[in-house]
Every structure is written in C-alpha cells, then in structure tokens.
Amino acid sequence: MNAPQDALVRGEGITRAFHRRGGLFSRGTPMLALRGIDIAVNRGEAVGVVGESGCGKSTLGRVMLRLLPLTDGRVLFEGEDLATLPAARLRALRRRMQLVFQDPYGSLDPRRTVGAQIADGMVIHGLATGTEAADRVAALLRQVGLDPDHAKRLPHEFSGGQRQRIAVARALSTQPDFIVADEPVSALDVSIQAQVVNLLADLRAELGLALMFISHDLHVVRHLCDRVVVMYLGRVMEEGSAAEIFRAPAHPYTRALLAATPSLRHRGAAAAPLAGEVPSIARPPSGCVFRTRCAFAQPRCAEAVPTLEPLPGAGARRIACHRAAELP
C-alpha cells in the first residue's frame, strides 16, 4: 500500500459477501458486494469513493465504521483491528468515527427533538450533560448555520437541506476524527447541495477531519476531495489524486463515467455513451468485471482479474487494467 503508515483508518483486503436466501437447506449463492479492497484514509484527508449503483460504495462506508461485518480482510483504526476489539472498546471508539446519511428524511428520528438527537452522542459518551450539553448543541447548530433556538423543534419542521445540516451537527457532536458521508447531497436540490458541500469543506478545514465522501457525482467529489477511489461492481478500478484523475482519467471506466456525466461546460461534447448496464452482482463477469462494457476489452481480460498497479509515470495513481500501458 502506498499510503503512509500512519493512516487513520485503513482497510486491508476488505471482502464482504452476502447470501441470497436459498431454499430450506441451501444457503443460496454467495454474492460478493466487496472484493479485496485496500483503502486508507489519512488524518485530515478527504477521500472520495465514486461509482454507480451496485458498486458497493455504501457497503464500503459502513464496513469502514464496522456497522457491517466483514467476510474477509480487516479494518484498522489507528492500527487497531475493529473486528477483534471488545464491544465496550468499540463503542468507545465510535465517538471518533461518525456517519452522515444520504436521506435527510430517514436519518433523523421523527419523534424526538433535534436538540435531543444532537445531544445523543454527548450523552452516550458522557462528554456533556444538562446545560453544558445544551450549550454544545446550540454551538453545533450555529456551526452548521442554523438557529440555536431550533433545538426544540422536531425534524419535520425543517427542509431537506436543514435536516442534512442537523445530521452533520449530530455527527460532529462527539468531536470525531473520521466521518463517512454516504451521498450526503444526492437527495438535495442543487442550490442546497452547494451549501452542504461548502459546509463539509469548511468543517474539514476547521476541525482537521478525515472524510470519506461517497458519491455518484464526480463533480461534487472533485470539489471536496484530495484523493478519489473509483469503484465498479465491488472492486477498485482506479485510485489517485482528484485533480489528476479529472485531468486525465486512465481507466476506461473512469473515462466513460466522466464522459457520461452531463456538464454545462462541455455541452454536446460527450462521447458515445457506454453500452449496456452494470451486470448483476450475482453473476459478475469473469476476469475484469468491467470487460463486458469496455471498449478496449480483449480475450485476456476475461481470463485473469487485473490487480491494482501503479500507473507508469503517473505518481501515486493506480489502476486495475490489463491494458494500462497500451491504452490510447
């Protein structure tokens, strides 16, 4: 792994399988949502995880926080394997890692006041109680750009963008070092999206947060992240600095993804769209998972799974493609 040794969170060979319900006596076929993923997030770094539906990006986010168990591999938080930690130690460690969800309507308990929900983390970890907690809640609401008086209201009194701010405030309540944001702006209107993206960028700069930003929108990722990981069908296709990947995407899938994303600036310049759709995770293609839609596929792509290798002459960039050296 090319990431420095002091990575805050590191996933090694993350594999997660789940079983479609078989009959009474069979377990059904195992489906691999994630296959051998190595990923590291350094202190204060923002890593974008990009891919289409079914690529496993949301699963990866939850696995990194051990909200879902692994089938194989391990996740280390400051060198500690989350899977082997005693339950009490893991609960205590949860103070330092938080999650922001995609759907601002589903992520807040509809029956409890916003203030109580923001205070939850502090109460759970014994960080503050009573008026001290109330003061912290007010400060957090102010920090995310809301009125401190809003603490007494219920979630349904807020708009989508405001709810997402509340969710961010809740995640910040325990003063975490690491936040996984799972498509936090996808459900928001464009004008509100920008507010939340800016808020996350500010908070990162202010608090030195490490951020794992999961999104299907490459443009948003580019604005917020230092490094980008492009995923397809449970595997990493390309990884590298955000600026570099946007300037010159290397992997055929990254190229197609960028070309397909509609843009105000390059109107009508889009290349022929990628044919077909993401294959079912139950029947992934042999060899390179992208080969069924790849314009550069060759017979050998069906035979062996390409490993993630450094791209020659491109610094820290790594791509998983048999034809990395020959691509035009």
Binding site: E52, L65, I124, V190, S191, P262, L264, P273, L274
Partner: protein, 617 residues
C-alpha cells in the same frame, strides 16, 4: 388536515371514558348491593327501585352490570397490559437481534397462536383453577403473541432505517436503541393493538365466566350474568338482554375507538381520489382569447391551487410557454417549483387536491384541431392521452405493471388506440427501436426481469407507440446511473429526429441535462416562471439572478468554493409579498420586496421575471 382525525377521536374516547368512570365509581354510586339476594322478588321486572329488574336470586341487575363492568374491564385491561409488555418485548428482541433470539422469542410465541384460543384458555384455567388472577394470566398468554407479531414486524422495518443505524454509529448501547429509538417509533400500531386486545379479552373473559371457568360466583361478571340468565331465559328474557347489551356495546365502542386511533396515528392522510374531469372543471373561468396562433402547445396564464387551512394556496402561478413542433423545451426547477404540476396539468393528470383556477392549455392535435386541454371533457382527454400526448415518468419500476409481460403491456397501449393487426410485430419493432437487446425475448419478460435502464426504455417505447405529437418526460433519468442516463438521453434525442415534428417537454432539476437535450429552457422558481429562452443563450448569459445562481452552484468549475444560494425555497403558504426570489437574491432592492415583477421580454425570444435583469452578470 391533521386536526380532523384527532377530533374524530373525541366522541368514542369520551364514551369509553364514561364506561370506565362509571365502573370505577361503582362503590360510591347509590347502587344496591350486587350480591344481596331477595328471593321473594326473583325475576321481577324493572321498577323504580330496580331500574333494570332483578335476577334469578332477586339481585339488582343494574348494580350487577356496573359492578360486573369493573371485573370485566379490570381483567381485560390487566390481561391486555401484561400481554402488551411481554409480547412487545419478545417482538422487539426477536426483530432487532434476529437469528437465535428470533427463534426463541417470536417463533415460540407463534406456536401459541396455533392452539385454538378457547381450548388453550381452558387448559390454563383447568391447571390453575378458576379465579380472576388465573383469567388475567391465561388471557395474557393468549394475546401476547399478537403483540409479538406486530412488534416484530414493525421492528424489522424500523431497524433498517437510517436513524437507527445512526444510533449504532454514535455508539449507543443496544438497550438505549431499543427503548429510546425503536419503541417510540413502533408504538402507534401497538397502541391500536392494545385497544383491540382489551375488547377481545372482554369477550373471552365473558365466555370463560359463562363456562364457569372465570370469575367465581357470587362476584358479578357479565359472563356469569349471561350464564345465570340462560336458565330463566323463557320467563325473563330481558335478563339475558342487559349483560349482552353491555358486552356488545363496550366492545363496539372499543373497536370504534381503535379505528379512530389508527387514523389519528397514521401520518399518511387519506388516499387521494383519482383525477377527474369534475375536479378539473371547478371554478375555472372561461378561457381568454388566444393571443397568438398556438404552435403545438401554448400554455397561457396557468394557475393551479391547492386548498390550505387559510384558503387556497397558489402552487403554480401564471405559467405560460409555447412549444413548436419538433422543439424540445426543458422545464427546470428545484423541488417545490411547480414544474411537475405544470407537466401533469398538460396531461390532465393533476392530483385531485390540485385545482386549475385560471389559464388555458391549447394543444394542436394530429387532426389539426386546437383544443383547450384544461377544459376538455375527460373522455376526449383520454382519447388524446397515449396517442397525441404521451408521458414518461421518473420511476420506471413503479410505472410498469409487475404482473404483466412487457409485450402485453405495450400491446395494450397499441390496442387502446385502435391498432388491431400485427400488434406483436409492432411491439417487437418498438422494443428494437428503443435499443433493447434481444427484443423478441424482452417482449416475453416480466418487468422485474430487466434492469432499471431497460425498464425506462420500455416506458419510452410505450410512450412513442402511437406516434405522439407531444412527449412529456418528467425527470426520466433521475433514478438512473449516469452511464445509463447518457444512453437514455441519446435515445430521446435520436427518437426526436426519427419522429418528425414531435415536440418534447422535458421536466428536470438538473441543469446539465438540460444542456444535453433541450433547445429552449423554462426556469421555474416557487411556482412561477422566472426566465425563458434558448438554452445556449440562457446558459451563456442568464437574465435572472436565480438562473445565474443555479448555474454558479453547479459543482463544475475550477473555483475552490461552490457558490451556494443562501436560504431555501419559500413554502407555498408563506410566499414573500414581492419577488419570490428576493429573500435569497444578492441583487434584491426595496422595490423587489415591494412589488412582484412581471415576466417581461428582455431580448427577442427571451424573457425574465426580474426588475434588475440588466444588472445580472
């Protein structure tokens, strides 16, 4: 809207409360001793001293009914409470932990459900001997599985919700998640279940007492009273009538309370009625004279309103646009802008609550006649829909019938508009035209067997099946992945070339998509059109601050920081007095807040609803 179900609770609630209060007050009411016998006057009819008469031992019936209510209600309420606590606990634990816990809680509880309830109660009572305590216990065993089932099902659906995961992510202990987060959110159906159980427990208690296995005589209980009255049924039929009336009345009352409670606790309102012509006609003034010859579609002064607590709320106000044959118009806006309602108004598919109050929608059909779609009778509208007018919806999976093969759904569209011969070939041809691989096989597939992008292709095939003059696409790519979105956009562009003269209205929230597909763009904000013009011109030099801000907030440029629009879209019932965008506008002046600007032409073919459009950079 939310007031009425709560008001509906008042009457049954008050009646139930009355029953409970009377039962509780039995000791202080001036009632005869319910167990004092007066054999001389046995089976006496109603009198001034004994309003409901006397029973087979000469005891006062009214007094026994009221004292009996105490026993029946106490036993039923205690049994229901015990069942609720135990059942809910089992259900929550089983639903939250699944696996082995689920087996020993929910599944074991379900075994109880397999026994006939009366037999099980008989068994328990026989084992433990009769008495009120035993009754409570055996009824609780009987009713606990019901609670376990409800709690289990609710927990299963709630545990996957994000706010439960959020508690886990915060590091909350399981106990905290179960009782602070899960329980309050699964409580409503359990409360309903509780009042149902009380009613059922009363019936069962009476049944067991009737069989001599419940309350021990001479204590009064409705079941015992029915049992006693049975023997003398022929001499004094009224004796049977009173306890039966008390029992049925109370049970019916509880059931009524249950129904109302369920309505009050269900946040979803009543289902909306189907859109109909009657709904569309209400209060619509006659159409104004068309100002110009309509092209394919001319919408003029369209205003839609929904009923609100303080009178009707205009959710779409004075919207107008034209669409020429062969042209693609994009209608862009954020949520709450009224873009979808405008589209639905054109299709005559407005939800029942939304009423057009002004304006006209002139449409030139294939026969060359111009019709006002807003005032067209439903029958004629139906003849146009699917033929001259077609629509593609956002969610392809909910727009196709899951039980019918794709081919037969398409065939139905064709047959509905008079195609009789070669339907199958036409269907396969259409599927080929929209780029479905292996169209022969796809025609025989069910919707769930094909992917989301392919389903959207099928929806497009259905829309273009009868060669429509106007295709309305409402966010057709929003639910799709970007690579698939690119395919669908390419397909729509291709179809427009193939179907000469077909006009397309493309409703979307995504400006970048507009650039890919549209000739002209109509920007909507808070129910109004704020800017209109050719796409290239509008993007290059917007003439309304909202459009400019929307373009600037797209995460595309190289700017370090995104330009956000502060604040949020105003709620329809709290619209600002002047310009609706003024509270969020950087250019807003006092004049903007005072008067609502009109849509004015700023250049040939371009209009803007802004007083200061010349200053918009």
């Amino acid at each position: 809207m939310r007031r009425s179900p709560i008001r509906a609770l008042v009457i049954p609630g008050a009646l139930v409360l009355l029953v409970v209060l009377v039962a509780l007050a039995a000791p202080i009411l001036p009632l005869a001793d319910p167990v004092r016998q007066d054999v001389a006057n046995r089976l006496a009819g109603p009198s001034a001293a004994h309003w409901l008469g006397q029973d087979e031992y000469g005891r006062d019936v009214l007094s026994r009914i009221i004292w009996g209510a105490r026993v029946s209600l106490t036993v039923a309420a205690l049994a229901a409470a015990l069942a609720a606590v135990v059942g809910t606990l089992l259900g929550i634990l089983g639903g939250y932990f699944r696996g082995l816990v689920e087996l020993v809680t929910v599944r074991v509880a379900e075994i109880v459900l397999c026994f006939p309830p009366l037999l099980l109660a008989l068994l328990v009572v026989t084992l433990l001997g009769p008495g009120a305590g035993t009754l409570v216990f055996s009824l609780a065993i009987l009713f606990a599985p019901g609670f376990a089932r409800v709690a289990y099902a609710e927990t299963l659906s709630a545990r996957a919700l994000d706010y439960v995961t959020a508690q886990q992510a915060l590091g909350a202990r399981t106990r905290r998640i179960l009782f602070l987060t899960l329980l309050p959110n699964i409580a409503p159906p359990l409360i309903v279940q509780f009042s149902l159980t009380v009613a059922a427990a009363m019936v069962l208690e009476s049944g067991l007492s009737f069989l001599g296995l419940g309350v021990v005589p001479p204590s009064p209980s409705w079941g015992l009273m029915i049992r006693g009255a049975r023997a003398s049924m022929e001499q004094a039929p009224l004796l049977l009538f009173w306890p039966c009336l008390a029992l049925t009345g109370t049970v019916l009352l509880l059931n009524l309370l249950c129904d109302r409670l369920r309505d009050a606790l269900d946040p979803r309102g009543k289902a909306a009625g189907r859109p109909g012509f009657l709904g569309r006609l209400v209060a619509l003034p006659p159409a104004p004279e068309p100002r110009q010859a309509p092209g394919l579609l001319t919408v003029d002064g369209l205003t839609l309103s929904v009923p609100g607590p303080q009178g009707p709320i205009e959710v779409v106000r004075d919207v107008g646009f034209t669409l020429a044959p062969g042209e693609t118009l994009a209608i862009v806006g954020e949520s709450g802008s009224g873009k979808t309602l405008t589209g639905l108004a054109v299709m005559g598919l407005l939800p029942a609550a939304v009423k057009p109050v002004a304006g006209s929608i002139l449409f030139t059909a294939r026969d060359g006649r111009v019709r006002d779609l807003l005032r067209l009778p439903e029958a004629e509208m139906r003849a146009l829909r699917g033929r001259d007018l077609a629509m593609i919806f956002q969610d392809p999976s909910s727009s196709l019938n899951p039980l019918l093969r794709i081919g037969s759904q398409l065939a139905e569209t064709l047959r509905a508009h008079g195609v009789r011969d070669g339907v199958r070939d036409r269907v396969v041809g259409l599927l080929r035209q929209v780029g479905l691989p292996d169209p022969e096989r796809a025609a025989d597939a069910y919707p769930h067997e094909i992917s989301g992008g392919q389903r959207q292709r099928v929806m497009i095939a259905a829309a273009i099946a009868n060669g429509p003059r106007l295709l309305l696409a409402d966010e057709p790519t929003t639910a799709l992945d970007v690579t698939v979105q690119a395919q669908i956009l390419a397909l729509l562009a291709e179809l427009k070339c193939a179907e000469g003269g077909m006009g397309m209205a493309f409703v979307t929230h995504n400006l970048a998509v507009v650039g890919e597909i549209a000739d002209r763009v109509l920007v909507m904000y808070a129910g109004e059109v704020v800017e209109e013009g050719p796409v290239a011109d509008v993007f290059a030099a917007p003439r309304h601050p909202y459009t400019a801000a929307l373009i600037a907030s797209m995460p595309e440029g190289d700017a370090e920081r995104l330009t956000a629009i502060p604040g949020a879209v105003p709620q329809p019932w709290a619209m600002p007095a002047g310009c609706r965008f003024a509270p969020r506008c950087t250019l807003a002046a006092d004049a903007c807040r005072a008067t609502a600007p009109a849509l004015s032409e700023v250049a040939p073919g371009r209009s803007s609803r802004c007083l200061r459009w010349e200053e918009v950079a």
